[in-house]
């Protein structure tokens, strides 16, 4: 129970098309993540699955039933909002049991399930408190608790960690990953944070301007991006892109290649004259485990190079850069992947 299919789904706001025909099959038990820059339609798509936003065209199939025109309550999905959206006039316990109470479950069953969810999320001590007496992290746990108390067909997360501070975000990310393993239910998760996407997802859907750019596992997306957009969007720091016509790179790729991409960690620092190109290190950022060097390579532009944090300082020096030729990505004039590395 819990497979979701989108069939040529479109969303129009008046004359503006926000979702431009999306086909996607989300399998039972899968954690699928929608990522993309702001305004790409990822939240809209999630809200359409939830039923909070009408679907202009196409179909949404939930467990084989067409739910396109059903109201949210008939879809049996749970949602966790970015802003938590807890009921401020109810205690934590009542917030979590609200959906069960609405469904007319007996009191003992509600108490039992709320306690079980509170146990999972370590909220036992807070059940009688009001949301305003909780910290941000606790509130988000209540919001997740509210979603898991009943057994929905699937969970929808709308940027659930965006409002938390960095360390709490890491904790909650782990929490969600753990929940996904224990509950084994379908989860659709929207985020603009690619670290969340890479760490949590079974499959990632990269969206841009209401269209799917690529669907695949985090590794597929990182190692075999289908196009320039995905190549640049996934990975931090971004993949370096260079024009293929420059002398240094002319014969590396297939004939139709226009752009060459290489991840910062696949570039080695060598002595001048021994690599594919050379340049001056303008800025070095020390991150502890890593160094990010920004190297001005003239015609090739500014390249980012990642080296181990234990390497020597090279800021201001002129260095040679050697690309790992097995890790090159080539893109044609349309920005699509072409050929394999030479």
């Amino acid at each position: 129970m819990g497979s979701i299919s989108l069939k040529s789904v479109e969303k129009w706001f008046g004359e503006v098309q926000v979702i431009k025909g999306i086909d996607l099959d989300i399998l039972y038990g899968e954690l699928i993540i929608f990522v993309g820059p702001s305004g790409c339609g990822k939240s809209t798509l999630l809200r359409m699955i939830a039923g909070l936003e009408e679907t202009s065209r196409g179909q949404i199939i939930l467990d084989g039933d067409d739910v396109t025109h059903k109201v949210p309550s008939e879809r049996e999905l749970s949602m966790v909002f970015q802003s938590y959206a807890l009921y401020p006039h109810l205690s934590v316990g009542n917030n979590m049991g609200f959906a069960l109470k609405t469904a007319g479950a007996p009191k003992t069953e509600i108490a039992e399930k709320v306690n079980a969810a509170a146990e999972t999320l370590k909220l036992n001590d807070y059940l009688d408190r009001r949301p305003k007496d909780l910290s941000g992290g606790q509130r988000q746990r209540v919001a997740i608790g509210r979603a898991i108390v009943r057994k929905p067909k699937g969970f929808l997360f709308d940027e659930p960690l965006s409002n938390l501070d960095a360390s709490l975000r890491v904790d909650m990310r782990f929490e969600i990953a753990r929940l996904h393993k224990t509950l084994a239910s379908t989860m659709v998760y929207v985020t603009h944070d690619q670290v969340e996407a890479m760490t949590l997802a079974d499959r990632i859907v990269v969206l841009k301007d209401g269209l799917i750019m690529q669907v695949g596992s985090p590794r597929e997306l990182y190692e075999h991006p289908d196009n320039v957009f995905v190549a640049q969007f996934i990975g931090s720091p971004k993949m370096n892109l260079m024009a293929c016509e420059t002398d240094a790179l002319k014969n590396l790729g297939p004939k139709d290649a226009v752009q060459l991409g290489i991840r910062p960690e696949h570039i080695a620092v060598v002595a001048t004259g021994q690599g594919h190109c050379e340049g001056t290190v303008q800025v070095s950022e020390y991150l502890g485990a890593d160094y990010f060097h920004y190297v001005d390579c003239g015609d090739l532009g500014l390249l980012t190079v990642r080296t181990a944090g234990s390497a020597d300082e090279i800021e201001g020096q002129t260095i040679g850069l050697r690309f790992d030729e097995t890790r090159l990505h080539f893109f044609n004039a349309e920005g699509l992947r072409t050929g394999e590395s030479a």
Partner: protein
């Protein structure tokens, strides 16, 4: 108000509603509802839309979202607007003074004005005025429990 009184006097006289409580029952809501709506809409707009969406996701219908989420959260606003509207009607004098001739129909404020005569000791008028404030005072004390600030605090971030 004075601008309204003269035409209403003429119309109500022709409709036979002038010397009746029904006439006042029509006038008071007509003058207070616009202000009450204006006051309430600001508050309703301030209730985060996500809360209502969370209600929809939790299995409520639109009507039940209003009943179980929106209205309980709007209680402070409903209470203060109700008190305001009650006070306006309770203290209203001008319409009652113009429309009512029959002593049996007098509203409290209109009745107290009747005490303003040379035959009644002035203390009675003053006492009447004080007594007239007591129900409003009592009502306010009871309503105060609903007038809590920040009922929506903690619901959404920021």
């Amino acid at each position: 108000m004075i601008v309204l009184v003269i035409p209403l006097y003429a119309i109500f006289s022709q409709l036979g509603m002038r010397n009746t409580l029904w006439g006042l029952l029509l006038v008071y809501p007509a003058t207070t509802i616009p202000v009450a709506l204006y006051m309430l809409q600001g508050y309703f707009r301030g209730i985060p839309a996500e809360l209502e969406e969370a209600g929809l996701m939790d299995g409520l219908t639109r009507m039940n979202v209003i009943r179980k989420i929106t209205l309980p959260l709007a209680l402070p606003a409903l209470a203060s607007v109700a008190l305001y509207v009650f006070m306006i009607a309770w203290n209203e004098f001008l319409f009652a003074f113009m429309f009512l001739d029959n002593v049996d129909l007098y509203t409290l404020s209109r009745g107290i004005a009747e005490l303003n005569s040379s035959e009644v000791p002035r203390q009675h008028l003053m006492a009447g005025a004080v007594i007239a404030t007591v129900p409003v005072l009592a009502l306010f004390l009871w309503f105060e429990r609903f007038l809590v600030a920040g009922l929506t605090a903690g619901s959404v971030k920021g």
